[in-house]
């Protein structure tokens, strides 16, 4: 009697479970077929854009001449009289506990404060929200960044996303943008794939814009240009040893260097890839020494360069490191290497040399140092420019609708600390060695405690390349 009842209870439970699974399948199938019906809203978006454009003529004439950003925004707010105090929300999405993310936050805050002091955007104040992606830690999986992005849009209601630093995270975030339909202004990842996606599948990837730094192809061009100019000032440095992290972005760059540098009279005496995360460079530095190299072309995006530079200095390898070293762009690098970074020469955006190249840059530096007690790094410039770029696009479009903003973002033409920011068809910021025509690059060399000086281009460079005393 008890047996049959417990048996019946069991069967009942199993039956209920089966019903639930069937219901789940049915629910899933029905939603799936419903949600894949084609959208029917395209026409209404385009009509609202065209009406917005016709009412904004005074703003667009102000912006088409290259006047300073803050004045153009202030003239715009005087002519447009929208009367809502509901803030416009920009989201900062980055590794907020790492110096790169902190600078994204600080650079953006500075821009927001300036814009709000001039009346905000469309009469509404700008507001920032923040979500931490932890991407500076290379072992943290991508889903952390994607969850943060999800929060920043669905919970914090960000209408524009500014941020990004690590390529794989930003690539994954880029793929999610068509779901959120929010513009994403990248301030840290330089991967060329990000822009290629825009070209190959515009309707999906159009929300992505790379504001800073210039993409990795441009980084290579800048570096090669510097090497070319070195032939005139330091003709005795001829042997180059390429020492690169074993990651895809350098795999694309190294062959370009191997091809171009000899055309300027350099001799490539060796090329070695070391695994990302290497901590002991005794074997590589021995090889550099015995190859007779005078320049180490260092290519590093992670923290490995801390040990590499420390060992390079202690072993007194007679070669100058000249290359791209992301960890070295941070002012903490001097402390991390206990001063061994001296004489390392790295590529930075022209806005990060410590010497501003235009008035915007000068104000940016002055205010940044005043409020945050440190010099900015590339993500700060990028975030600062991104806020202005987004604000301006919203002004011109008259709306915060993400899809509607795209054409206005594409027309961006502003002057920032890194030079002039305009986008090409792949939504990458356009590189130009002349900072009055595009975003420019520079080379800086560590000279002292938290200090580096610009060695190229002139202006703003004041000092030539120095060699370590043991060379």
């Amino acid at each position: 009697m008890e047996t049959r009842r417990s048996g019946m209870a069991r069967s009942a439970a199993i039956a209920v479970l089966v019903v639930i699974v069937v219901a789940a399948v049915a629910g899933f199938a029905s939603y799936y077929y419903v949600s894949t019906a084609p959208p029917t809203t395209t026409t209404s978006v385009s009509t609202s854009v065209s009406t917005a454009v016709t009412t904004q003529t005074s703003v667009s004439t102000a912006i088409s001449t290259q006047t300073s950003i803050s004045t153009s925004i202030s003239t715009a707010t005087k002519t447009v009289t929208k009367n809502t105090t509901q803030p416009i929300i920009f989201g900062i999405l980055g590794p907020l506990t790492d110096v790169t993310g902190i600078d994204e936050k600080d650079g953006a805050q500075l821009a927001v404060a300036e814009i709000n002091a001039h009346g905000g955007v469309l009469g509404r104040p700008l507001e920032l929200v923040y979500e931490d992606t932890q991407e500076a830690n290379p072992t943290i999986p991508v889903d952390v960044g994607l969850a943060a992005m999800n929060r920043i849009v669905t919970v914090d209601h960000a209408q524009v996303i500014i941020g990004g630093e690590r390529s794989d995270v930003v690539l994954a975030e880029e793929a999610q943008l068509p779901i959120y339909k929010v513009p994403y202004l990248d301030t840290g990842a330089a991967d060329t794939t990000l822009g290629q996606n825009v070209l190959s599948n515009y309707s999906l990837y159009k929300y992505f814009f790379m504001v800073s730094p210039v993409n990795s192809t441009a980084l290579a061009t800048g570096l090669i240009t510097y090497y070319a100019t070195l032939r005139y000032t330091n003709a005795s440095l001829t042997n180059v040893y390429i020492l690169a992290e074993d990651i895809a972005v350098w795999h694309a760059l190294v062959p370009v260097l191997q091809y171009e540098l000899p055309t300027f009279g350099y001799k490539i005496v060796g090329t070695t890839y070391f695994p990302y995360g290497t901590s002991d460079f005794s074997t590589q530095l021995s090889a550099v020494r015995s190859s007779g190299a005078q320049i180490i072309c260092i290519l590093a995006a992670g923290q490995d360069s801390v040990q590499l530079i420390q060992q390079w200095a202690t072993l007194q390898v007679p070669a100058v490191p000249i290359g791209i070293d992301v960890a070295s762009e941070s002012p903490t690098f001097w402390g991390q290497t206990n001063g061994d970074a001296k004489y390392e020469t790295i590529e930075v955006g022209i806005g990060d040399t410590g010497t501003p190249i235009n008035t915007i840059g000068a104000n940016f530096y002055a205010n940044f140092s005043k409020y945050y007690d440190t010099l900015p790094i590339y993500t700060a410039d990028g975030a600062y420019e991104s806020v202005y770029i987004a604000a301006q696009a919203i002004e011109k479009a008259g709306t915060t609708n993400g899809t509607a903003l795209i054409p206005y973002l594409e027309q961006t033409n502003i002057t920032g600390p890194d030079g002039v920011v305009r986008f090409d068809r792949s939504h990458n910021v356009i590189y130009n060695p002349d900072f009055t025509k595009g975003a420019a690059l520079a080379m800086v060399q560590w000279t002292g405690y938290n200090q580096y000086t610009c060695v190229w281009p002139t202006p703003p460079a004041t000092k030539p390349l120095a060699r370590p005393p043991w060379m």
């Binding site: 008890e2 047996t3 009842r5 417990s6 048996g7 019946m8 209870a9 069991r10 439970a13 199993i14 209920v16 479970l17 639930i20 699974v21 219901a23 789940a24 399948v25 629910g27 899933f28 939603y31 799936y32 949600s35 894949t36 907020l96 506990t97 979500e131 931490d132 932890q134 830690n137 072992t139 943290i140 999986p141 991508v142 889903d143 952390v144 994607l146 969850a147 999800n150 929060r151 669905t154 919970v155 390529s167 794989d168 690539l171 994954a172 793929a175 999610q176 068509p178 779901i179 991967d191 794939t193 996606n197 599948n201 074993d246 990651i247 895809a248 972005v249 795999h251 695994p275 990302y276």
Partner: protein, 319 residues
């Protein structure tokens, strides 16, 4: 008074609540969080099926997760298979490759096996990172197609996967097969002396664990439209261990509870990942020290009770 098994009751209640959720609370963010939770629940439950029942600690569950994710990525990009097809196929691939790793190591004693499982995903992660021409390096594989862009569809898809996994695993765990596995955990030498091919049983359990975890990896791949080397991250391995221990080891449903608890509370509150790992770790330590069975530890005996009742033809006094 019929003795309804607590496990089944809990499972049913959970399932009903989850199924009805989007109609009651159609919040996009909540649905996304729960989708993540479902994916982790599958991985944790599969981990529990192997480690909880056989007692062999697997410190690298992320191996199957990553294999499944990359397999789905390749099938989607190169073979143009849609995600609905790649998900189960990826599970199969995870089994095959998992066996290649597992077969030589399963006959090893506890700590040696545990160490081997710890390092396999590290090697796999390193390989996907350095063999960048094949695996995409730090970019991984991107541009994958997803089942749908709708939060609701993704939620139901993950929920379906989770429910099917749990049902199958509970069924297997409460069967004679599960009994055999537990006898290995309790005394491997005795089981082997009694004529059981211990390695074969462990291998089958390992394969089952690999299959479902591989599927979960493939599901995440289509959700993110992206696969990267961090899918092999030891964070994932550690998190599912924490979820299972906190929820209750060897209960299959415990890991689901642990996954839901930890993912919703930590991701939902927006606690940064560093701090959430800290919480996982501290909770895990507390549970290991104070509650050996986890929050649902009592249910372990229920699984056994279920099995004994079934095998003995439903005689309650057999428990």
């Amino acid at each position: 008074m019929p003795r309804v098994s607590w496990i089944l009751l809990l499972a049913v209640v959970l399932a009903v609540v989850l199924l009805l959720l989007p109609t009651v609370y159609p919040n996009d963010f909540a649905l996304t969080i729960l989708t993540f939770a479902n994916i982790f629940a599958v991985v944790a439950a599969s981990w529990d099926f192997f480690t909880g029942l056989t007692g062999r600690f697997n410190f690298g569950q992320a191996l199957f997760f990553g294999i499944g994710a990359y397999a789905a990525g390749f099938m989607n990009l190169d073979l143009r298979y849609g995600p609905l097809l790649t998900i189960p196929l990826a599970g199969a691939v995870a089994v095959v490759i998992g066996v290649a790793f597992g077969y030589p190591t399963l006959r090893l004693k506890g700590p040696y096996f545990a160490l081997a499982t710890l390092i396999f995903p590290l090697i796999a992660g390193d390989l996907t990172f350095s063999l960048s021409s094949v695996f995409g390096g730090e970019h991984g594989l991107y541009g994958l197609t997803s089942i749908s862009d709708s939060y609701v569809v993704q939620y139901y898809g993950s929920l379906l996967m989770m429910l099917i996994t749990i049902i199958i695993l509970i069924y297997l765990a409460s069967s004679r097969f599960g009994l055999a596995l537990e006898s290995i955990r309790d005394d491997e030498r005795a089981a082997s002396a009694a004529g059981m091919n211990v390695t074969r049983y462990k291998l089958i359990a390992y394969m089952i664990s690999a299959f479902f975890t591989g599927m979960a990896g493939a599901y995440q791949a289509q959700l993110f439209k992206f696969v990267g080397p961090t899918t092999f991250s030891s964070n994932i391995s550690f998190e599912v261990i924490a979820m299972t221990i906190i929820g209750g080891i060897a209960t299959i449903v415990g890991p689901v509870l642990g996954a839901y608890l930890l993912v919703t509370v930590l991701d939902g509150l927006g606690i940064s990942s560093d701090q959430s790992i800290l919480v996982y770790g501290v909770l895990l330590m507390i549970i290991v020290l104070a509650f050996p069975g986890g929050l649902l530890g009592r249910l372990k005996s229920n699984l056994r009770a279920m099995r004994i009742r079934r095998l003995m033809g439903g005689r309650p006094d057999a428990t």
